[in-house]
């Protein structure tokens, strides 16, 4: 190599949610700088949540992200119910799980087929891909629509649903409204099973990384709304202990704070982490599909995230079928909460990784302090680390190809940059 400095630059990343860019600097064959720029402007949610009534939090925080509003609503209601000592009925719990399945189906289908697959096949976008793979793209749209329709039926609309409240739902659907979904979800399950096979046959770079995985783990379910926060290196805590173990730092090139595990640094959240920590909690149909596709129960290759997402897509279809079949409308759609001075925290699994919310309330139920840690913030360090290793391994590639591969490596994470610019800092001033 010459002493020349080589720079890879992507001004605005495409096929991600929100605004980010990439800068990689290579000097004498060594990567000397990697920066995932996040220039999505800050929207300052934690600041304006102060003084709002607790009941407003699910609708307000949903607006952090149009791609995963249900994740924000779920983390908000669970954190606030922890604060207020509210326990929901088993029927409401099941209905929330079904709503979350709708969001996972929509979000995973969008990412697998429309945002990530074009990278593996060398297209600029799904439009180009549709010309050669029309049937596949139509199936992708079909399964995506099932997820969206499930959210619309349960909660009014797919983006910023209106039916979620602290204590449950404003209105619970009756059995007749949900019954028609069984047939559609069965077809979606077939599409998802085919997607596991199809994604596993994509050209896959060999790129295993020694991540510390962090995800929720529940005694007998694949995690969505509940569980302990566990890691592949022995962390095992309740979500309310999150802030004692994780920290964030503010770097100049990012409007998102970077998450880090105290004393250990970078960690990974999202499908790879969830799958690797919870393989035994997947239903047999999803485990079998994963094995048949050549996936081990632990997956350390972020490029294979597309296959793991397809396995999770299959799981969510299967789970949604079970939930629709066994659905019993709750006697009351919600439990009325009583305001009290309190603090509550919760984590739920957004499609791209777990999402932490904490709220402190006064005795009237007004929010004194809010803290939100989204998945993309937590993964930022791992993304930058992946890029450093990946670029050093592929310096022989031409510039355009290497840049394209770097973009693909970022899209492995399904980054949601809109989500990532909101956070969090322990230093919150009280009025």
């Amino acid at each position: 190599m010459t002493a020349k400095t080589r720079t890879l630059k992507v001004g605005a990343l495409a096929r991600v949610e929100g605004e980010g860019g990439l800068l990689v600097r290579v000097t004498r064959g060594k990567v000397t700088d990697v920066r995932l720029h996040i220039f999505e402007p800050p929207r300052l949610f934690e600041a304006f949540l102060r003084g709002r009534d607790y009941a407003e939090a699910p609708d307000l925080t949903a607006r952090i992200c149009g791609i995963c509003p249900v994740a924000y609503q779920m983390s908000a209601v669970h954190a606030l119910e922890a604060a207020l000592g509210v326990t929901v009925s088993p029927e409401v719990r099941a209905l929330r799980r079904l709503l979350y399945c709708g969001e996972w189906i929509e979000s995973h289908a969008l990412h697998i087929f429309m945002l990530h697959a074009p990278d593996f096949l060398g297209y600029e976008d799904v439009i180009g891909m549709a010309k050669d793979h029309g049937a596949l793209v139509r199936q992708a749209l079909e399964i995506k629509k099932v997820g969206n329709d499930l959210m619309t039926t349960l909660a009014g609309r797919e983006i910023h649903p209106i039916n979620v409240r602290v204590g449950g739902f404003y209105r619970a659907p009756d059995r007749r409204e949900l019954a028609p979904f069984v047939d559609r979800l069965e077809r979606a399950r077939d599409i998802a099973a085919a997607a596991v096979r199809w994604t596993s046959a994509l050209p896959m770079p060999a790129f295993e990384q020694p991540y510390e995985f962090v995800a929720l783990r529940h005694p007998d379910e694949y995690p969505l709304n509940e569980g302990r926060l566990v890691s592949s290196r022995g962390l095992d805590i309740t979500p309310s202990e999150f802030e004692a173990h994780f920290t964030e730092e503010h770097v100049q090139h990012s409007n998102a704070l970077q998450g880090s595990l105290r004393g250990r640094g970078a960690y990974l959240v999202g499908p790879l982490a969830r799958y690797s920590l919870n393989f035994d909690r997947l239903p047999p149909v999803a485990q079998d599909a994963a094995r048949a596709a050549g996936l081990e129960p632990i997956c350390r290759n972020p490029f294979q995230g597309i296959v793991v997402r397809a396995v999770e897509l299959l799981f969510t279809c299967e789970e949604a079928i079970r939930l629709v079949r066994t659905y019993e409308p709750p006697a009351r759609p919600f439990v009325q909460a009583t305001p009290r001075a309190s603090t509550g925290a919760a984590c739920t699994e957004a499609p791209r990784g777990f999402l932490y919310h904490r709220y402190t309330l006064d005795d009237q139920g007004a929010i004194l302090e809010a803290r939100i840690v989204p998945p993309t913030a937590q993964n930022q360090k791992s993304v930058e680390h992946d890029l450093q290793v990946f670029v050093e391994q592929h310096l022989d590639l031409p510039q355009a190809e290497l840049t394209r591969r770097c973009e693909q490596a970022i899209r492995n994470y399904d980054p949601c940059i809109s989500c990532a610019t909101h956070f969090l800092d322990l230093r919150v001033e009280r009025e």
Binding site: R15, R43, A47, F48, C65, G66, M114, K144, L257, D425
Partner: protein
Amino acid sequence: MGRTRKPKLAVWKFASCDGCQLSLLDCEDELLDVVGAVEIAYFPEATRVSSRGPYDLSLVEGSITTLDDIRRIATIRKASKRLVTIGACATAGGIQALRNFKDVHEFVAAVYARPDYIDTLDRSLPIAHYVPVDFELRGCPINKYQLLELLSALLAGRRPSFPEHSVCIECKRRGAVCVMVAQGTPCLGPITHAGCGAICPAFARGCYGCYGPMETPNTASLGERWTALGVPPAAQARALRTFNAWAEPFRAAADAAAAAGKDRQP
């Protein structure tokens, strides 16, 4: 037959949640037809392709919150034959306009460890504050069927047809029970622009105004009704200060309610 050039469509993003532009990708049944009828010239959420202007139609999501945004929207306006704002952020400043009522520097300090790294304006303002806008699609989020109507109309060279009445009319049409009359639930439907299909009343809750103010809303009358239902002035102000807080009729009514609340404090 001569081949006509497909109209060039660009989708731009400012401060927002990405939900309104996602609405286009959520048109699962129509998406392939839409991309067949137009040339997607710029839409980073969906494609790496990036073609230069001029653009026949620019859809703009998000509000203006940085100095660079002001320069960027001016460039986009120059390059666009038609510019349509989509959603509450672009048409009214969005939820991030709640900073407009407070000290933004204190807000930044509350969220970020190094406020000096953050570049942001004091106010989050709608696109129309900076450049002329040809059409506005309301809502947080927009209704995807309204987006399709907009695209079809512009492709056909006609004016899009959208209702301009309040949510109440949509509520009656859908046969929903009035939650305010029947259950005494506070509802912003009478002063809120139609477009959502009155989904909140259909789910047994009051409208929370995510489509913003209708033309000439009678906010004072609704305020009296809410007061009669026992909603304190401070709560009325909060109800109006959400996703369309900076839209003039909501802003004025919220300011009045907030002032009334202060008067009553001991």
